[in-house]
Symmetry: C2
Subunit: 459 residues, 2 copies
């Protein structure tokens, strides 16, 4: 371990950013608008208001303001667990015997266990400001649901969480955490919504997906009073809030006078990578020197590497607007992959556009057992047991560091460690016992999914 | 929330203490020696060497050195997760509407989830230095076992963990974490030892206790080559290592120019409270102004509040030396209380002596449901879901803060938040569902335990 290099770099609480960064203001491609699926017309704030609270609807459509003030109440909550540490992975570097310098921004030191809290508290704040009393949402791995439970508890809002059924079964204790913070948790698909009933009628053994859970939560929001729907990823508003990850990371790296050559993030809906890369992407979009960006997704749900760039519904029940994104089709049924947070058919429209335009340099799909191998090495060297989602980024970071070992290059790698794996031990157990299997969808599986992508007039 | 007061205070990595503090060097009462149960004679380093590695045996008997150097390798590992934050509980203060200022030292931001890692890494280091290849230990709640798994993994040592059977069943995922770090986990009592076989023959439904698990681990250590036993609490050596908690806490408070009026810690074996209060106790023992010290234990296992100050075995199988301590008797069978880490019949001999002599001011027993009520309030206000063990200290801190509200006093309270409750969700589930019950041993239960305290010639 080198001396004089701190292992962890913390900004002070006063240095927590006062504004989020909105990358769309800097994107050169006119951002494809979200469309009303009935008319094919772009949605307005008024169109979105039945689903989202007004301020968030505005953020969703905001393509002009580069910076958005972080409300004082949100910054006050951020102080509970932020700034998050930027860590120089000296122990991992040693284990790999690599000349590369590896840094990671660790977002797991809070009870939700991940970066999701950054957006949850913002969304709950705007709902409270508007005088709403309840929120609905979906959760996959349970990290978003836990984060939103904490946020709603803080602002005194009721919360109904539709949790992907397979995650509910794999992670019973996630439910207990959410209930401790006062949320109501419902396994999805459920018989509490029309969409859920329909899914169960068609396929009773359905173990659920984020897409279906979204449909259920949206249905409840639009049919209940003083209630809105909130989402933990994919949306533009979420990427705005998550920019705090990258802003803090860049500020800490600037203090260390370090410039990353490669920035790596796992990508399910895109919230973490979008947030982590935000200020670095600003450099790229301004034509200045910037790192090489890598999005890492599971081979079992390969929306960027094998999906289509097309308008699609954000949910399986086809109740949401249409977004232009890399998608496997809203009807794609992901396997019971353990990285529940990455089991989503689509991808953030912002990341999709940046990838399509070549600003996000690379998307890479990795298989589950290779991911857990990386997770185990990371846990044993750096101490922290990573979430399976985060371990996708670790896999790519390790591979890049090993490539440096091969070439002798001394690159600086930054990746996002989105969360810890304390609620994913069932998966680790399988890995330890050697019973974990990889799954890659066949071309036929993909074709079945693609067939559900709607035809949009004029798009 | 007050401005200009940081919520979290971090020392820098360079400010991690370079020496542990050994409170025994300052204690005025000649410290009661540990005795050979056969002869009644004090144990020497040579007597302890079959069980403990040599350096740790020396630390166990060291009553003269006030400070002991922390080896560089241990400090390097500490940098992975230390300094731990000192947190001003402004959100809890607000929820209580108290004039008291509440601070807590949070030790849960590492994968073991608790302060136990502080001693685990030290013990593994000395074992490695001596050329040993394997360690054995017991674990209750699983925190110590996880910590030692991480430490042994770091230094390449084999590890066998005897885990209290009831904890094993309540927390199956703890086992998966330990196995991820390469440890072998065995539910105790087991049929892998003579002691375990005897316990099972007498009482087949025995759900285990720390005392029994210790007996099994010690038996394996003394009957295997290049193997020693290590323990996560109770022992003097552990309190030396855990002094880092208090040393860091005091250094951070000194920076803030804050002097605590009350110091509170949960007490099972005494490792956390002993560590947290160490530098403050140094003040008291030197006759200077010092805080009021409170040890909080579960009403279900009340060694200090209802136990006897006597020589007793440290384990149920009666294979260890005798230590002078507050004890319920080595044969006391604790109820299946959820705070697994506090289910121990005895108490650190150091804390016991300090309590007996009036330097540790107060021991307080609290019931489980009141503890979880405090845990829930803490989680909802401060964000972090606490371990049930830690929540005993939270209960007392809240009660003291409420007393301040009553009297109008503006006392400064410091307590130890030893860990998080991410592996204790089964207990939270019971609390949420209203099925949690309190248990207080009857006088008859206690008498049965006291009857197992040995008679020691001349003690």
């Amino acid at each position: 371990m080198e001396t004089n290099v701190p292992y962890k770099t913390y900004l002070t609480e006063d240095e927590i950013p006062k504004q989020w960064y909105n990358v769309r203001a800097d994107m050169e491609t006119a951002h494809a608008p979200i469309l009303n699926p009935g008319t094919g017309e772009p949605m307005s704030v008024a169109d979105l208001e039945p689903v989202f609270c007004t301020e968030l609807a505005k953020q969703e459509l905001n393509t002009t303001d580069r910076f958005i003030d972080i409300p004082d109440e949100v910054r006050s909550f951020y102080k509970m667990y932020r700034p998050s540490p930027l860590i120089r992975a000296t122990y991992l570097e040693k284990a790999l015997d690599t000349p590369a310098h590896i840094y990671y921004k660790y977002e797991g030191n809070n009870t939700s266990g991940s970066h999701k809290l950054n957006s949850a508290i913002a969304q709950a704040y705007y709902a409270k400001q508007q005088g709403l009393t309840s929120l609905t949402t979906e959760t996959g791995a349970g990290q978003w649901g836990t984060a939103l439970s904490m946020a709603c508890c803080y602002f005194g809002l009721d919360l109904k969480v539709y949790m992907v059924k397979v995650s509910c079964e794999q992670k019973p204790y996630r439910k207990a955490v959410m209930e401790t913070y006062g949320a109501q948790v419902i396994p999805s698909p459920s018989d509490t919504t029309q969409v859920g009933k329909k899914m169960l009628a068609e396929f009773p053994d359905n173990t659920g997906s984020l897409g279906t859970a979204i449909s259920e939560a949206v249905e409840v929001a639009v049919t209940s009073e003083n209630t809105r729907y909130v989402l933990g990823s994919v949306l533009n508003q979420v990427l705005i809030h998550q920019s705090i990850i990258g802003l803090e990371a860049k500020a800490a790296l600037d203090k260390l006078e370090v410039t990353p050559d490669i920035v790596i993030g796992c990508a399910g809906g895109g919230s973490n990578l979008g947030g982590l890369m935000a200020p670095f992407m600003a450099e790229r979009l301004a034509g200045r020197q910037a790192p090489y960006f890598i999005a890492v997704e599971p081979a079992s749900c390969p929306s960027m590497t094998r999906g289509r760039f097309a308008y699609d519904f954000c949910d399986t029940g086809q109740v949401t607007p249409l977004a232009k994104m890399y998608t496997l089709g809203n009807g794609f049924i992901p396997s019971a992959n353990h990285a529940g947070g990455l089991r989503y058919h689509g991808m953030s429209p912002i990341l999709s556009q940046l990838y399509h335009d070549g600003f996000l340099d690379e998307a890479r799909a990795v298989e589950q057992s290779a991911v857990f191998e990386a997770a185990e090495l990371f846990a044993k060297s750096e101490g922290t047991l990573p979430a399976p989602e985060s371990a996708h980024a670790i896999r790519a970071a390790i591979d890049e560091a090993l490539a440096c070992k091969e070439s002798g290059e001394k690159k600086t790698i930054l990746f996002g460690l989105t969360g810890n794996g304390y609620f994913d031990l069932g998966a680790y157990q399988q890995y330890n016992e050697g019973t974990m299997t990889d799954y890659v969808p066949t071309d036929e599986d993909l074709e079945r999914g693609f067939a559900t992508i709607p035809t949009v007039p004029g798009a």
